[in-house]
């Protein structure tokens, strides 16, 4: 995983609430067996018209620069598809800002080096009020700053996840390093042993 440090970037505003993962990447585009290429279909049904041409009203077709997506509350609700996080990173975003994130999306984002930054509703509205906002996101300091006004908020992230993102480590490396403890747990504490599954 790539290391995350600090970025200063224009924002791409999507001022809608409850953006679900079916909108981020519709199910019919989940048929790949690799993690790549999902950015092409990010927000597919909002971004393109039925005939495949661009929908001029949709923000991704107007704002071409920016590594920070800013959306309304409850971003990423619905399906657990990690393809949503892959589509957002593949498109080129490094940060998603919202006033509230759905649990599974947040976890998936963190597992892919995409930083979910939860801000207050007021701060979100301050960003959205600017026509061309820029933000600085500093993971080490856990702050987000709206460049145009200097407004700043700090955001939360677990010390463990912060360490992972800053150093480009992932959970599997960590879990594999705990394999002995897992084996011990299986012997000492388990109630359910492996099901003898046989084809019938």
């Amino acid at each position: 995983m790539e290391k995350f440090t600090k970025i200063i970037s224009p924002v791409v505003p999507l001022p809608l609430e409850n953006v679900d993962t079916d909108q981020i990447i519709p199910a019919r585009f989940l048929k790949s067996t690799s993690r790549d290429g999902f950015g092409e279909n990010l927000f597919r049904d909002w971004r393109y018209k039925k005939d495949g041409s661009e929908n001029a009203d949709f923000v991704l077709n107007n704002v071409k620069e920016g590594e920070v997506l800013v959306a309304g509350k409850n971003f990423g609700c619905g399906s657990s598809r990690e393809h949503a996080a892959w589509a957002i990173t593949d498109y080129g975003f490094k940060v998603v800002v919202s006033s509230f994130f759905a649990d599974i999306f947040k976890g998936n984002a963190l597992n892919n080096g995409l930083l979910p930054v939860q801000v207050s509703e007021d701060f979100l509205q301050s960003i959205l009020a600017q026509t061309k906002a820029h933000v600085a996101v500093d993971l080490e300091a856990q702050t987000i700053t709206l460049q145009e006004t200097g407004e700043q908020e700090s955001f939360e992230i677990s010390a463990y996840k912060k360490h992972c993102l800053l150093n480009g480590l992932d959970d599997i490396d960590f879990l594999l390093s705990n394999k002995e403890a897992i084996k011990e747990f299986e012997i000492s504490s388990r109630i359910y042993s492996g099901t003898p599954t046989t084809l019938k």
């Binding site: 067996t33 509350k73 677990s158 959970d171 879990l175 403890a181 747990f185 492996g194």
Partner: protein, 462 residues
């Protein structure tokens, strides 16, 4: 010391270790996988050169992407076929039991786990699918995970998780006639919102919940993710034990007695405290239907669409659905009826539909699809003659899979058409680009199929 909730007891019993200022290493008893969210995880462990740690605790099926007609033939759509074939290859290579197309145990992952007895009280169960919450109906901690987490479980049979807060949702009192488990959960979601449960794990309790069958409890827990909650659970009781007994993978003989004794201890202590408690009166619940583009946008069928409060997302939703604020949905013409999905495709759901449509015909303007949740449900329906009743009423009985719930396969509702669906999500385009979904119970969906427009099942229930 204060007592513990059932959730606390089970969570704590599965913590291998706590990471300082971080998550818990949580041990997983059962891992269910399917073709859509597993290929990248298999590729991941192969790239790292680590084996699948506990293949015998992993069960696979093909469901999301499969056709629901002519399943004996090769899948026509190339990408879908590739994904289903990749699952087969991966399972063979890594020693995972696969119930693929054509297998007697195949079906929607959240239908087959319980019906085969794989799902048991006290377990931790995960799957790369948000509706894994279904299995919580048995008093298990079950929740959906992303593909990176699927890879974690492949590699170590554990995942890193922060412990959610606990919420108790109590539904007490007697349900009105014609009110189903689906109506309960649509009602609860409409009151709490799609984010009201975020950060929590829910325990459903109260006399109305206890009165439900296992199928009904699964419907309730299935949709706990639509509250934003990671999962929902119901303490196991005699209804649970009776359901499990005798199933293929259920404990047998002496082991049954041991497990049963353990399962009977799986309750929340009387003095345990939850982070949040919400109570509802069962008698306030009526048959429900959704009018908008998230599952919390639900109303009583007898009610009317709420007026907008100036919120852009709400207006966008009504515009997409082409429904009028302040109006009733009753009498609104419908084009499709879909009975299926991990929410409502079990034998009890099919029986409920058959009871309503028996001796009747679907309306001419309705295309009615009924997709059983598994090969076992399909076989049971045939054994009971339900297939004949449905066919005579003009329903298409298809083969098991997720089907039009998420429209990954050919089963798509056309653009602009209304579908009354027993599934779990009414998001924009969920059942096909431009499709308009109204969520309801199987009973309501069956009544709509007969009437041709939005109605409740009351006049068909005798």
């Amino acid at each position: 010391m204060a007592g513990k909730t059932l959730f606390d007891k089970l969570w704590d019993a599965h913590v291998v270790k706590h990471v300082e200022e971080g998550p818990d290493v949580l041990y997983i008893d059962r891992h269910l996988i399917h073709e859509v969210t597993s290929p990248q995880a298999f590729a991941g462990i192969e790239k790292r050169g680590v084996p699948l740690f506990r293949p015998k605790q992993t069960i696979a099926t093909a469901d999301h992407n499969v056709p629901t007609q002519d399943q004996h033939l090769p899948i026509k759509e190339v990408l879908s076929r590739t994904q289903v074939e990749a699952l087969k290859t991966n399972c063979e290579k890594h020693g995972v039991e696969l119930y693929g197309l054509g297998h007697a145990n195949q079906g929607i992952v959240h239908v087959i786990g319980p019906e085969l007895g794989i799902t048991q009280p006290g377990m931790t169960i995960v799957c790369g699918d948000s509706h894994t919450s279904t299995h919580g109906a048995f008093g298990a901690i079950a929740f959906g995970i992303g593909t990176s987490e699927v890879e974690q479980v492949f590699a170590t049979q554990c995942i890193l998780q922060n412990k959610p807060k606990s919420m108790r949702i109590e539904v007490s009192g007697e349900l009105k006639k014609g009110v189903t488990a689906k109506d309960i959960i649509l009602y609860v979601i409409s009151k709490i919102s799609t984010s009201g449960g975020t950060g929590y794990f829910v325990e459903f309790a109260g006399s109305a919940i206890e009165s439900l069958s296992m199928e009904g409890r699964m419907t309730v827990c299935n949709m706990s993710i639509e509250l934003g909650a990671r999962g929902g659970m119901i303490a196991p009781d005699q209804t649970t034990f009776d359901y499990i007994k005798g199933r293929d993978f259920a404990p047998k003989g002496e082991e049954w007695d041991e497990k049963l004794a353990y399962w009977k201890t799986l309750t929340t202590d009387a003095d345990a405290e939850y982070d949040k408690v919400i109570t509802f009166d069962a008698s306030d619940i009526e048959p429900m239907i959704t009018f908008g583009t998230n599952p919390a946008m639900g109303i009583k069928i007898s009610g009317s669409v709420p007026l907008p409060n100036g919120d852009q997302s709400y207006r966008k939703s009504l515009d997409y659905m082409q429904v009028e604020a302040g109006a009733s949905l009753k009498g609104k013409p419908v084009d499709y009826v879909f009975i299926g999905s991990c929410t409502n495709s079990r034998i009890e759901d099919l029986r409920a539909v058959a009871k309503i449509v028996k001796g009747r015909k679907k309306a001419d303007n309705i295309t009615a699809w009924i997709v059983p949740g598994s090969k076992h449900v399909e076989a049971q329906a045939k054994a009971e003659g339900i297939d004949k009743i449905l066919e005579e009423a003009g329903f298409e009985l298809r083969q098991p899979g997720c089907s039009a719930c998420l429209a990954m396969n050919e089963d798509k509702v056309p653009e602009g058409k209304y579908c009354v669906s027993t599934s779990n999500r009414n998001f924009e385009g969920r059942q096909g680009p431009g499709a308009r979904t109204m969520l309801a119970s199987p009973e309501t969906a069956a009544a709509v199929a007969i009437a041709g427009y939005v109605t409740d099942a009351s006049e068909y229930l005798n």
